[in-house]
């Protein structure tokens, strides 16, 4: 997994590009990207939500899931290879599961509203939107915690700092020799 990470990132990138192509070629829907509000200038409306999802809803959701996975994979790429322990892989896997769960809750409650016309509210927004606003924002918090709390263990350890200082000393010696 560790040394193959860039290949996984590449495959995910290709899948995302493929989905974009598929969406571009899908049957067009009139109000897919919104239309002018009939009454208020400058405002747009989305209109028929179910119609907008009919052709590309699942593709769009798949794109979103791949993007969430890619975010965690890229974060993992930023952790030096020797620190990508089983513990870290499980943590990152858990983060992917969490963010996908949040995305699914958002998508499914949105579809539920489109079918029933009924929604509850959470902290000021319809439930589906609350999942998008609060859930998406909070979904990255495990990454923030890992970086801040685990900085000296997984990002830049005291041993790393020693190695880095040796590089700087070598640079200083080289500069001194060049001046001589």
């Amino acid at each position: 997994m560790r040394s193959k990470l860039i290949y996984i990132i590449f495959v995910v990138s290709l899948l995302m590009a493929g989905i974009l192509l598929a969406i571009s070629l899908a049957e067009p829907v009139i109000n897919a990207s919104g239309e002018a509000h009939p009454q208020f200038p400058g405002m747009q409306v989305g209109g028929d939500g179910l119609a907008r999802f009919e052709q590309i809803g699942n593709l769009g959701f798949a794109f979103q899931c791949l993007l969430l996975i890619q975010i965690v994979l890229l974060s993992l790429l930023g952790i030096p290879e020797r620190y990508r322990s089983r513990k870290i892989l499980v943590y990152m896997g858990g983060t992917i599961v969490l963010t996908l769960f949040i995305a699914w809750q958002m998508y499914s409650t949105h579809l539920q509203y489109l079918e029933t016309g009924i929604t509850s509210y959470f902290l000021g927004f319809p439930t589906a939107t609350a999942w998008a606003v609060y859930g998406t924002w909070l979904g990255a918090i495990p990454l923030v915690i890992l970086y801040s709390v685990g900085f000296h263990k997984y990002i830049h350890t005291p041993e790393d700092e020693e190695q880095y200082k040796k590089l700087l000393i070598a640079k200083a010696d080289k500069t001194e020799q060049a001046n001589d």
Binding site: S24, S33, G46, S75, T136, W137, S148, I155, H156
Partner: protein
């Protein structure tokens, strides 16, 4: 106090501008060479870097364009904001440590310096420098125009300065910007960012409280008003739809780690370990300031639909109308000062990196070495760059909006597509090659330019920026895999192992 609303607002803005001038004078004494001018001598503390980072991220767009976009397309615009936690996290994981190390190891003072060191290629340096110059011109022109338009609107409400023209406003606002950038370089820029960041945090929190009190039922009542009018506008993907939302999610999320005016600040902290506190502090600041973006947009859309406020002529009037109708004069003064602060913090960052690209990176890429008296010429080019950008701004306003619109396309999305793969991925993957980097940058520039210039509209709200970014990622990794594995310089090779 209501009778003195305009005077309070004007006074707040004037006080802030005087502060900028004094900061420039103070910073001038601490600026002795180009390292000080461009990266503050790598001697900044964590609070300064954190506030500077998020201030540079949130330009005037966060105060004017953002609320206007929420007013226009509803929740779609939220995706630019809610992705902030992800964007910052990815940026720190991929860039913060390595850019700081490579900057000290190779005495880099700019982002093109960093890529030249990483790839051992002047071609990659040159392309990144050109990307920066193109993006800076567009960004700066729009920021200067925004500053002048807002200044004119504020002064128009006073008796003494009611007839002040746009050109005068461009001159005044540019003069303050140029003064503190020329005298104090990035040191003046980041220390004004500290105050700017504090103002934006306070403004965001106060605006949220004010917005919540507009309707008796708070944000929920506003949401239900919008829901009754058009459900899609308040549902997760907003009026512009799923692909517009996810496009912004992608470009603004991952793209943050490709913004030169943001990631160059990661070269400036004194200690590597400061990054562990800089990340959460930046994120907190951004989240607080972004409350303004979301709350004003939603409340104004609901207020117009409900008949509380007359329909807006332009979506971008959402913030100023909100402040006029709902905010007390002191709060309005703080927010307008915050607006100028936000525009200036992004403008000074762009001015600095644009100057570095012109007098430091392009000469090195073409001629192989720096020019003499670099600090002197840095100051000269800062002035010239601001004047050219201001001229573009005025030309676009009075004659032809196309030019700035074209250059404006070379904005966040182009930086994201051109720079993210090359820097963020490239600093963490030894297999990244020069052909891969060159292909990614050229493809990103071409796709963004062609889709904007050609006025192509893609189905389902897919943006040219999204296509460019997705393409550059695939091309960067794919071409690198197909081309010969590079032999890295010994120190770079060892640095990438740390």
């Amino acid at each position: 106090m209501e009778a003195f609303r305009q005077e309070i607002i004007v006074g707040s803005v004037v006080v802030y501008m005087i502060f900028c001038v004094l900061t420039g004078l103070w910073a001038m004494r601490r600026t002795h060479n180009t390292s000080d001018f461009f990266i503050a001598g790598r001697g900044l503390g964590p609070i300064v870097v954190a506030l500077a980072l998020f201030s540079s991220t949130l330009s005037g767009f966060g105060f004017v364009g953002g609320p206007g976009l929420v007013y226009s397309v509803g929740v779609t615009s939220f995706w630019m904001v809610v992705i902030s936690s992800t964007g910052y996290a990815v940026g720190f994981f991929l860039v913060a440590k390595r850019i700081r190390m490579i900057a000290e190891l190779r005495d880099c003072i700019s982002l093109p310096d960093v890529v030249a060191a990483r790839y051992g290629s002047q071609s990659v340096r040159f392309l990144i420098a050109i990307t920066i110059v193109l993006g800076v011109m567009g960004y700066l022109a729009t920021q200067i125009l925004a500053m002048a338009v807002v200044m004119q609107a504020i002064l128009a409400g006073t008796e003494t300065f009611a007839e002040v023209g746009l050109v005068t406003c461009v001159v005044i606002s540019s003069a303050v910007l140029i003064f503190y950038c020329v005298t104090g370089g990035i040191i003046a820029s980041v220390y004004t960012d500290v105050v700017q960041g504090a103002i934006m945090i306070i403004a965001g929190a106060l605006i949220l409280f004010t917005a919540m009190s507009v309707f008796d039922g708070g944000m929920q009542e506003a949401s239900s008003i919008i829901l009754a009018d058009d459900a899609e506008a308040i549902m997760p993907y907003g009026a512009a739809g799923i692909m517009a939302s996810l496009g912004w999610f992608f470009v603004f999320g991952l793209g943050l780690a490709g913004q030169p005016h943001i990631i160059t600040k990661m070269m400036m902290n004194k200690n590597m370990s400061d990054n562990r506190t800089i990340l959460p502090m930046s994120l907190f600041g951004y989240a607080m300031a972004a409350l303004l973006w979301i709350s004003i947009g939603i409340i104004m859309r609901a207020a117009v639909i409900d008949g509380v406020v007359d329909p807006l002529t332009l979506p971008d009037d959402a913030a100023s109308m909100f402040l006029t109708v709902f905010a007390n004069p002191l709060l309005a003064g703080v927010v307008f000062a915050g607006l100028f602060a936000a525009i200036m913090s992004t403008s000074d960052a762009f001015l600095n990196i644009g100057t570095a690209a012109i007098i430091h990176d392009i000469p090195r890429a073409i001629g192989g070495r720096s020019i003499r008296n670099e600090l002197f010429w840095a100051r000269v080019v800062t002035v010239l760059l601001a004047i050219v950008a201001a001229s573009f701004a005025l030309y676009s306003h009075f004659r032809d909006a196309t030019l700035v619109a074209i250059l404006g396309a070379f904005g966040w999305g182009t930086f994201a597509a051109s720079i993210f793969p090359v820097v963020a991925v490239g600093l963490n993957w030894k297999g990244a090659t020069v052909p891969g980097a060159i292909t990614a940058i050229i493809a990103a520039l071409l796709i963004n330019f062609v889709t904007q210039l050609g006025g192509y509209t893609l189905p389902y709200g897919i943006s040219g920026q999204l296509i460019a970014f997705a393409s550059s990622m695939v091309l960067f990794i794919g071409v690198s895999m197909l081309t010969k594995k590079p032999e890295l310089a010994s120190d770079i090779d060892q640095m990438m192992d740390i």
